[in-house]
């Protein structure tokens, strides 16, 4: 890629940041240059962010309707999924799934709750609540 072809697309997913791209200048010499974004990259990042957002919204509704515990919502809210939460806590996936049950989560052991709070970066009262929106 030539220097003048390095996209400067002001991508929203760059959040006003810049990235360094390596490209060739007019003398044929390669160098790093700042880019404000690339539409192509923005498309795929946006796709991933939308997917996360969708999970959060669905989880919110499921918790609101009493089908899932607040843990389920906060997991997605913190951009995690069952795999990441399991790796971070060291809890087996099937035991975490049980905690997605509101009735089981209501009686959760304090030490286990603290582990969840630690990896999700939440306070005890936060993890038990669903935000108003």
């Amino acid at each position: 890629m030539r220097l003048e072809n390095v996209p400067q697309d002001d991508s929203s997913t760059y959040a006003k940041m810049k990235k360094t791209i390596y490209a060739k200048n007019s003398d044929g010499k390669m160098q790093g240059i700042s880019s404000t974004g690339w539409e192509v990259e923005e498309t795929v990042t946006r796709q991933a962010l939308d997917d996360i957002e969708e999970h959060i919204k669905e989880a919110f509704l499921e918790v609101k309707n009493g089908k899932k515990s607040t843990l389920y919502f906060h997991m997605y809210k913190q951009k995690m999924d069952l795999t990441i939460l399991s790796q971070a806590t060291g809890f087996f996936k099937w035991t975490i799934k049980r905690d997605f049950d509101p009735k089981i989560f209501a009686k959760i052991k304090q030490s286990r709750l603290e582990e969840y709070c630690d990896v999700l970066g939440l306070e005890i009262d936060e993890i038990k609540e669903l935000p108003s929106e």
Binding site: M1, V6, S12, T13, Y14, A15, K16, M17, K18, K19, T20, I21, Y22, A23, K24, K29, M30, Q31, G32, S34, W38, E39, V40, E41, T43, V44, T45, Q47, A48, L49, D51, Q78, K79, M80, D81, T83, I84, Q87, A88, T89, G90, D118, V119, G121
Partner: protein, 330 residues
Amino acid sequence: MSKFQHIHHAHCESGVISSMLTYHGFKISEPMVFGISNALNFAYIPFVKIGGMPLVAYRSLPKSIVKNIRKNLNIQMKMETFSSQKKGEDRLDELLNEGKIVGAQGSMYWLEYVPDELSFHFNAHNFLIYGKKEDKYLISDPVFAEAVKCSKKSLSKSRFSRGAMAPKGLLYYPTSVPKEIDLKPIIARNIKKLSKNMLKTPVPIAGLKGLRYLAKSILKLQAKDKKYAKLFLGNIIRMQEEIGTGGAGFRFMYASFLQEASELFNNDAVLNDASKMMLEVGDEYREFALVIAKAIKSKKDIDFQAISKMLRQIADNEAKVYKKLLEFKA
């Protein structure tokens, strides 16, 4: 010792090493660090899922740049991890008080200076800590244009993030850096090693075999749900472009390395040709990304055949670069 200067790089780990060694009096570019630490690669590991998507990587394992630089340049580099957060915090302050600049590993997600759009759970992010002012740590994060500041709380949460590739508070810093190192034999050795690796990896998930395996898996998306297929394709391009690769899954950076290497060997023609070829392969990766982005946006059916064929073609052309590189004689 000179005053530390933040430099904006493409990639976190190679960027940290380049800034760190340059600060210690051994000036070395990011592409050179990347090249001589043998960091280029490709891996497609369908049974390891990240965010529900198979692992796709365009470089070697995290931390391998630090480890290979240490080994290949014969630099004394201390790497410290900690059994408790408190110990890790105290040790960092101690090192900063001694006037050291320190490389650190942490989770991107918990760093407060990372905007939401760019933050995700990746435990092997690397950055330099070069001081402390009032309550804030001064951080040179290579993928950021300017130096940044970070609170102790956020920094510790990041350094002691748990899960896959947990950093365990890792800090690293050189204890002695030679002023002069003859890079030539190191370059020659690693170019050869890389070329052989990429062409002949024994496992089907890495090197160019991995790339062809991914091309095959793209064909299978035909039978899958359309939304999944689009996320699968998007994930490939995110790993190729979004994850601080300097463009085209590190291929542009490697082309830059080959050019620099050619200059060191009195404008060696083989290396120079290989650099140009790698640059062209990089352009093909960018084209591949463009086609996928269009497919994601379009409501029409996706031509998986064409996308898969494109990737196979890239694998063929990239193979030519490594074959060319094997002709190189130091």
